[in-house]
Point group: D2
Chain length 350, copies 4
């Protein structure tokens, strides 16, 4: 009953086997092996256009380098107030960029509110040396609170960013979960909707360490080899990341694993919404479930071995908080099992 | 006949198996698993004192974070002119520190020359706001040119750094190779000789990705958890690094693999020194061999499939260069075989 | 009728004369002249304790260096959402610190709201490597919107910052204006109320270029000489700044000039509140007046040569905006004259 | 007898008067006054082409921003080993650029040696992600040791930088002294010789604070307004810098002052070369004189009130050092008088 985070899971057997196969023999280092090349091409296939792909060590690195690649002096990126790169990266985006700002844009349900984005951008008129320069908009798909942007919603954000000349970055640490949730194709949910740069995560969905930064316009990525190396993010034995991605993207494994995680989240949502005294905080659309629960139930479930985190109410929802109730986050993954859910349901009295 | 670099090798089967074992089940993320803890304790055992250990993605990250952890405003680190962190890290130390300088100190054979270090330090008198502040000395063990500092030589460097209040960092990307070369214990070749911070590398010696930053005085590492996370170097599934180190450090595997690599280097040195027209540039002490070779021989060997790099003559040795000869670097590893050497010997005419 | 900004004024004659006197002869450079020393001592007198003083080129530099001096890895400073260092410094604080974040805390009237500060701090629990580390709280006195913190209000902010170990910085670009507004002593409005570091501005109040960073605990300033030089903020002919401060602080000139500017602001507020169709947005407490005015009146006044800026409604007051009215800012200074006000009153029909 | 540095002098009376004149009235802040515009145009006249000009607070700021404006990820600038930006700026270039490296290129007499520059550049092959990217070459005119590059020598450096696509920066803290030494026109000694960016200093030559960064290709300066503001180098009352430059550049004042300083240096060189036991270390070409002197003479002269600094022998000249002699630096300026020299000559026994 581990619902603490999808990164508490290990690696899927097929990923593990791929790592084993990659272990033998010799190969050029620093991303120059034939396997690296092959996987880069695979990304182009999957996204239906030539893309530039850069493997990095962590999702935080992907996000931080994405902003670094497009930063300007006095640069300001715009992201929803609870985005991972705002709240959970210890200032890595600010540090990697040498001091860019991430402007927190309000928005309910983890999504950036388009009107608030317009309003935030007005604070930074073109040519104002005092306020600084907008340089990117970043959205998270699936969001940090388990919701998903509809394709049209991505397009709307892009339609605000575009006229200001701002590239649109997508933090896709849970890209696959959002993709299967929408039933969309990778191209539709990314560049066709206006996304310019994508942090493509495999780690939370069954790899042990497989994160890639994808540029849909390779020209924009010219400085990336230097940016990545300078940031100490270029693996010498890069082929091991490539091997994970090769297995991940083969035969739809990545979609299958995300599908499973999402299904588990849905089933868990059903349990939580029918358990006595509990309610869903909002409807899950990917692999995270947020529930409002009595303190006593939280204690009882955790005491029985269930692992999940209490969560702060966001600014936007603070008024919904109930004094004697606790907001809790549950995350499912490829490794979540029906048995886990059944046991949890039993304990929860659902 | 791959002698291009030790990072062209894959992973040793025992490392690979350890990765496989780590793949199952759930574990706390971000370095908080029991396995992470256990391996941290193992480091303390191996070094015979309580140490603080931080896993990172690359050796470059370890070096850059080591300097960041001890940096001062206007900070200057001192390293031998051909050190990896000077020549091969795309400015990562300067970038991570936000602009520290690495002062290139001359020295033959890849070792920092103590007198030159003293002279370099004189350029930075205490309290001079104009010159900046010395903040660390860094040495590489084994060096970039396959030589090794004797224990006493490390102590001599430490005896220069100490009175100026400078921590001594050791880039140990090939720590194991140096250790078996000297027949020394880890503690003797590190903190007992005056080393304060160690970049401990496993990747070049049979892991796929296992690098650790070791602080011999844990108090000095208080900011490290933030520095590492901010640098996007904190793995979520950190236990996979821990698993590699556990296997690496078990039953002396790490020493065994380094021993093998060094033996292969010695055997290769014998071949190169007896082949017609070739000579050793200097005597190898770890797993790298440098030879002076006729251009025709280089072409013939590479044409036959041998992989090795031509190398520039360092400043210090520039006058030894022979106009019609080429300096070449050969690196051996755990994966180098006798058969490879035999075939190479045959081709070289040795 | 120049009410555009207090930095549109030139230098007061006494400052100008002091600059002239300083021009002759020779003096040690880089802040080491007897005059520099004397003025540093004068600061200690004025603040009734030993302080460490550092002259810098701009108020932005003072603010940015204050945060740099106390920054931590993943550091977060807290400031009111419209503070100068948030809105008007092109990201200098983020840049100088190498990527610290300035967290915008809501608050009406330009003042940081204590409850909102408490709530903002809760988002950064101690020891969380993901969220980063709080490292300072910054307030502006007088604020950007012409209001002033009462001594007790400063103390309340300090009482929140203190238990979290956060130094309290005061941006005193208009320190003198606040001081005379409160009728307080410098010590009362700074360290006695809990302020640790002060950006002490003279430029807006009659100097041409005189900004100082004051540390009330000199031990905290040990790195400052290096931080200032590294930031290219150490004047070689520093004595010219010292000369300005000497004249500024002699015989109460600084208070006299601020008194005048505040009086002019009060008189201007009377005019604006009695002119047809206009109202004060809020009561001025220093040398800035904000008025809500009909567009036609704005056009007419500016057409007649009055200089003042339209101003955006802050987030906190957005709902007070009137669709057909404009918010305007008027700033007075030592150089504002009664004649200017009389002419403006006539034009405004007050 | 103050020969400690040209920045120990104050301001020339004409500069002082200009500051006084600028003190009255109101003017747009942040570089937008008519006077600022006028002086910018004056720079274009003097350099015989449209240039982009940016006033900053210090020469260090000018140098550091010049490199920042052209920096690349993993960027490396090349400068003579004793250049001011290498030895005397507390790492400001590295800090402002967020971690660029300044590669010390050997060279006698303060000048960058062209062959050594070629050799240094070879260490950074195009496209090598490991070594980093060359991004600029910087020369100092006049040099730190009182010598001057001939026009052809500047051209030779430019001819090496150009084919690698590297902009050529000139640190012209003593531009005027070099100009009158060569009898050249500003255009000849800058862009016509291949210089792309110039730090144009007025402070050492009679201003109190007047430094400008000049871009000969204004297109290259597009980001400069943001870079300057972000670096806290944009004066609010910028017109006071403009006023100094206006007077400085009017009626050849700047050349007259430099001419005087150079003459004084020449006369001082005559004294030092004829005094018993002393010799010139090398022939001065601008306003700095270096002499080799007996320790006793140094003590006697300083005891009698002469101010000058002992100087370290550079690496390049270390073998010329005489054990019982001291290398000393003497700097003259607009404020040096014949009487000073006569008295010094008398004391020196020349």
């Amino acid at each position: 009953m581990i619902f603490a985070s999808d990164n508490w899971a290990g690696a899927h057997p097929k990923i593990s086997e791929a790592l084993g196969r990659a272990a033998g023999g010799f190969a050029p280092a620093y991303g120059n092996s034939p396997l690296d090349r092959r996987v880069e091409e695979r990304f182009s296939e999957i996204f239906e256009r030539d893309v530039a792909v850069f493997f990095v060590a962590t999702g935080t690195a992907a996000n931080a380098l994405a902003l670094t690649a497009v930063n300007l002096p006095g640069g300001v990126a715009f992201a929803q107030a609870e985005a991972h790169l705002v709240e959970d990266e210890c200032g890595a985006p600010e540090y990697y960029t040498g001091g860019a700002r991430v402007h927190r844009v309000p928005g309910r349900d983890g999504r950036l509110d388009p009107d608030e984005l317009r309003r935030a951008l007005e604070k930074y008129p073109d040519g104002s040396v005092h306020t600084g320069q907008p340089m990117a908009v970043s959205i998270t798909q699936a969001t940090e609170v388990g919701t998903v942007y509809a394709i049209e919603a991505i397009g709307e954000v892009a339609s605000i960013a575009g006229p200001r000349g701002l590239p649109l970055h997508m933090d896709g640490a849970r890209f696959a979960n959002a993709l299967v949730s929408l039933g969309a194709k990778p191209a539709e949910m990314s560049w066709k909707a206006g996304v310019d740069i994508l942090s493509f995560g495999g780690t939370k969905n069954g790899c042990w360490c497989a994160e890639a930064l994808v540029f849909f316009d390779p020209d924009r990525a010219k400085a990336m080899p230097y940016l990545r190396k300078r940031a100490a993010q270029l693996f010498s034995k890069s082929r091991f990341v490539a091997a994970q991605f090769e297995a991940y993207l083969a035969d739809g494994l990545w979609l299958e694993l995300a599908e499973h995680a999402n299904e588990m989240a849905n089933a868990l949502a059903d349990i939580l919404s029918s358990a006595p005294g509990m309610r869903l905080a909002w409807r899950p659309e990917a692999n995270e479930v947020f529930a409002v629960m009595p303190r006593a139930a939280v204690d009882r479930l955790q005491g029985a071995g269930a692992r999940f985190y209490e969560w702060p109410w966001s600014e936007a929802r603070r008024d919904e908080a109930e004094p004697d109730r606790v907001l809790c986050r549950f995350v499912t993954s490829f490794a979540t099992t029906r048995q886990d859910l059944d046991e949890f349901a039993r304990l929860a009295g659902a």
